[in-house]
């Protein structure tokens, strides 16, 4: 079974780090992974996109045309929504995306990722550090909450992912990122993962569900 995810945002949001975590999470679960970065020439702040294909069998094409999951970290990234396959999941960082218009035939999950991360200042690796940068880890947890399993079973593989990806000077961020991942996971489990609308793909959707407004 092949799964396809695209993570989109701007430079500095940890978009490619998030794609890397997702890739390693699949690897930790014994799957094959192909991941591609895409970014503009800007030194900082440009459009960034990461794609992650995972499958039980070796992957033929690493290219994603119609993703199952699109993560939108900022408003301009809504441009990618038409790529989503019918019935696919749109996961939105509600802190930075003011309004998501109804999306017929899609499951919409809204998570106030940047705000949840900012609230974790107690876990900053050094006092006074702005922890909103951990929004990518909140979204990582939110993605994992879309699947099966409780936090108690997901936590182990997540820690393994961070052992592989947060090395050298980034090691100090492991406690913050683990807490942020848990926070995103629990947010989605507490507020609902936006059940797929019963209407046929293409039919108008009454309201975007998920219903998560920023605190």
């Amino acid at each position: 079974m092949r799964s396809e995810a695209i993570v989109a945002g701007h430079g500095g949001q940890g978009v490619l780090e998030l794609a890397n975590w997702l890739a390693y999470y699949h690897l930790a679960n014994g799957r094959h992974v192909a991941s591609t970065p895409s970014y503009g020439p800007e030194t900082r702040g440009g459009k960034v996109r990461g794609s992650v294909v995972a499958a039980d069998a070796p992957i033929d094409s690493p290219i994603i045309e119609t993703p199952d999951l699109l993560v939108v970290m900022n408003t301009p990234s809504l441009d990618f929504v038409p790529m989503l396959r019918p019935g696919g999941t749109l996961l939105v960082n509600r802190s930075l995306v003011a309004e998501v218009a109804p999306r017929p035939g899609l499951r919409v999950v809204e998570v106030p990722a940047t705000d949840l991360a900012a609230g974790l200042f107690a876990f900053a690796p050094e006092p006074g550090l702005d922890t909103s940068m951990a929004a990518n880890a909140v979204v990582f947890g939110a993605i994992l909450a879309l699947g099966a399993g409780e936090w108690a079973t997901v936590r182990g593989p997540v820690e393994e992912v961070f052992r592989h990806t947060l090395t050298d000077r980034k090691q100090a961020y492991r406690p913050l990122d683990l807490r942020a991942t848990e926070s995103g996971f629990r947010w989605v489990r507490d507020h609902g993962a936006g059940a797929l609308p019963a209407t046929a793909p293409g039919a108008p959707l009454a309201a975007s569900n998920g219903g998560a407004a920023p605190p």
């Binding site: 390693y24 690897l27 094959h32 992974v33 033929d60 094409s61 290219i63 045309e65």
Partner: protein, 368 residues
């Protein structure tokens, strides 16, 4: 810690593959989308796990890099340089000298879109430049084309093996997509091969003087040398063709694709087969020598339609047509500028070809 498979970018995998094949010296000048190769190698000099790797130098230019590489290759050491499009053009003069001096040398080109500066997206537009020599004087090179990150890691060992066996420059032609793509790959277990380097320059320390030069002022000398090179290239063309077949046995249409296009083609074969269309893939691994014998085999076994998928305006399609020699219909599907053909475009092209009237009558049928 649980042992996860390695998960590397294509460029990183290629750098590790070269190190595991016994790379001794690397010279380069960074250029996107190839820069992870020098970036990966820069920190590895002196590391105990790669005892043979002794020289990493970021040169002042591509010209300096290729000429430093020539000097080191002349000592019989395993030498590599890596670049992308514009830098590959700058290295052509040096590659011509290395071919003339019969130096084993590995040159990597991570093809970006062009011509000129172009952009940083993937293309295969340097196919002619790589497979036809690229520089002056009528030499040939061996050109290898990986289509996955694991193969990016495997091919440097083959490249060095061929470079030393035939004493000739070998090019790995890959693309911006494969260079940036991350995939899981098994941890390789290869010991570096050993080759004869009795021809190499020794600094005049031995009783025999080894002169490695590309200058042959006497006409008869140059004539002899050119014929010697041509005979070597003919032997390579005869014996070193490599390719992979996917579901070509009963295929009505055979896709021909290399690099990232081969991955698109693999997916197309799967989806078209699921719809009942008999489609196969021939993937050249050596672009030079081109696997024309395999095309010939397929034609003789009844294949009458080839669809060549490539990221340029149609270059490899010429080699397929030459090999098919009028006995099969050869069409091309191309995309440029850093974009890739969509699965829908590939599907439509295959379908259009599959339902077209039976193509050209085979030559042997005319004879009968």
């Amino acid at each position: 810690m649980t042992a996860l498979p390695e998960f590397l970018k294509g460029n990183e995998a290629l750098a590790y593959g070269a190190l595991r094949a016994g790379l001794t010296a690397f010279y380069g000048y960074p250029i996107t989308p190839s820069s992870e190769i020098p970036e990966t190698l820069a920190a590895k000099v002196g590391r105990p796990e790669f005892p043979r790797f002794r020289v990493f130098l970021q040169a002042a230019s591509e010209l300096e890099a290729i000429n430093l590489a020539i000097g080191t290759a002349a000592t019989g050491a395993r030498t590599m340089t890596a670049t992308s499009g514009p830098g590959f053009s700058l290295k052509q003069e040096g590659i011509s000298y290395a071919a003339a001096m019969e130096l084993p040398l590995l040159i990597v080109n991570v093809n970006r879109a062009g011509p000129g500066l172009g952009n940083l997206g993937p293309e295969q537009s340097d196919y002619f430049q790589a497979t036809r020599g690229g520089g002056h004087g009528g030499y040939r090179t061996i050109v290898l084309a990986p289509d996955s990150v694991p193969e990016m890691a495997r091919l440097p060992a083959l490249a060095f093996s061929l470079a030393f066996r035939y004493r000739t420059p070998v090019i790995v032609l890959t693309d911006a997509f494969l260079g940036q793509l991350k995939e899981d790959l098994p941890v390789p277990d290869v010991a570096p091969e050993e080759w004869d380097t009795s021809w190499a320059a020794t600094g005049a320390r031995g009783p025999v003087r080894h002169v490695l030069s590309s200058l042959h002022l006497e006409l008869a000398d140059q004539n002899r040398h050119s014929r010697h090179l041509a005979a070597k290239y003919a032997e390579i063309a005869r014996t070193e063709q490599r390719s992979e077949d996917v579901a070509t046995d009963d295929a009505d249409v055979v896709l021909v694709a290399f690099g990232i296009c081969a991955r698109l083609a693999r997916a197309a074969v799967g989806s078209m087969r699921a719809r009942g269309l008999r489609v196969g893939l021939l993937r050249p691994i050596t672009l030079a020598p081109f696997p024309r014998d395999r095309i010939d085999d397929l034609v003789l076994s009844g294949v009458r339609r080839f669809l060549v998928l490539e990221l340029n305006h149609g270059q490899m399609v010429d080699d397929v047509a030459l090999a098919a020699a009028g006995r099969a219909e050869v069409r091309g599907l191309t995309e440029v500028g850093g974009l890739l053909p969509t699965s829908a475009a590939i599907g439509a092209a295959v379908e259009a070809m599959a339902v077209s009237p039976t193509p050209l009558v085979a030559a042997e049928e005319v004879d009968a």
